[in-house]
Amino acid sequence: MPSAGSPAETLSVEVWRGRDEGRFERFSVPHRASQTVLDVVTWIQRHAEPALAYRFACRVGVCGSCAMTVNGRPRWTCRTHVSKVAADGHLRIEPLRNLPRIKDLAVDLAPFFEKWQRAQGRFTPSRTRYDGLAEVNPDAPARKAVDAGIECINCAVCYAACDVVSWDDEYLGPAALNRAWTLVNDARDADRKGVLRAASRGGGCHTCHSHGSCVEHCPVGINPTAGIAGLKRMSLLALLGRGPE
């Protein structure tokens, strides 16, 4: 078992323990080169507190499971280097904001994914398996809008960063609306009108205050504010009879 070194080589880590009621517990963790915040949490769970609950899967920034609040900001912990966020050797790790807590650092993502469904964030095929492949022009402006938002990993960092989500339980949030934006721009989707309707009713795109916290925190560089603004414009055009077909 690695032991904690001298103070300069040791991180002071405060970790939230409990559910809504709880406390911060302090751990001393050896500081390593190229260490990520997820490495720190894993070290604590393996060497200091086996009962610590947290969630991760891929460890390489693909699955979106390991997001937590690190020193006050929501982040993907597997790709967040300690050296970038804890220059003074101190880390405070909490569960994500705006989601029900389960235990310690694990939150319940069900409301987040339910809102994806409410925004009709699912593809409705316009072809069957017996039809040929759809031709997609990568240079079409609508396709470029899809490409700009399609790489979302569902980590809920934007959802945790958004103040409007904290104020309004009904608000669908940046990730679900970004997904809706990619669908209303996808020529292959058979129900783009339905997606726009779902994304622009109460709690939808018009609830966004354009603070841009989602853009500031998205770990994969997506701009949900741009997509939500696009949905607002599109719903206005639909009102004037120029919406998606």
């Binding site: 020193n71 354009s210 841009g212 500031e216 701009n223």
Partner: protein, 113 residues
């Protein structure tokens, strides 16, 4: 601690928009009250308008003009974000609005006061 995730230009612009709106809302009843004096008598209105020569009132006047510009610039920014084709100029628009408010404040200070 969660304040850290809010410490960026977008949130500051939204805060400036709201704070200037609230302060202008506080000013409006006073404004209407003074205008209402004109119905009573010219002397009553002139009596209050004479207060405008007081340096403190002049300073408040300057603050009012700056607040109006800040509120206008922040509102125009939101309209531009939501109704114009997206140009990734979020922070540029905030900078432009801040610059416009500053310019109006400086012009008002030197030309009007």
């Amino acid at each position: 601690m969660i304040f850290r995730s809010r410490n960026h230009l977008g949130v500051w612009a939204a805060t400036a928009h709201r704070a200037s709106g609230v302060l202008l809302a506080v000013f409006l009843p006073i404004h209407f009250l003074v205008l209402g004096l004109a119905i009573e008598s010219a002397a009553a209105l002139d009596g209050v308008l004479a207060l405008a020569e007081n340096p403190l009132v002049k300073l408040a006047e300057w603050g009012l003009v700056v607040l109006l510009t800040v509120h206008l610039a922040c509102g125009a920014r939101v309209m531009a974000l939501e109704f114009l084709p997206w140009r990734d100029s979020r922070k540029g628009l905030i900078g432009l609005g801040a610059l416009a408010s500053l310019a109006v404040g400086v012009v008002f200070l030197f030309q009007v006061l």
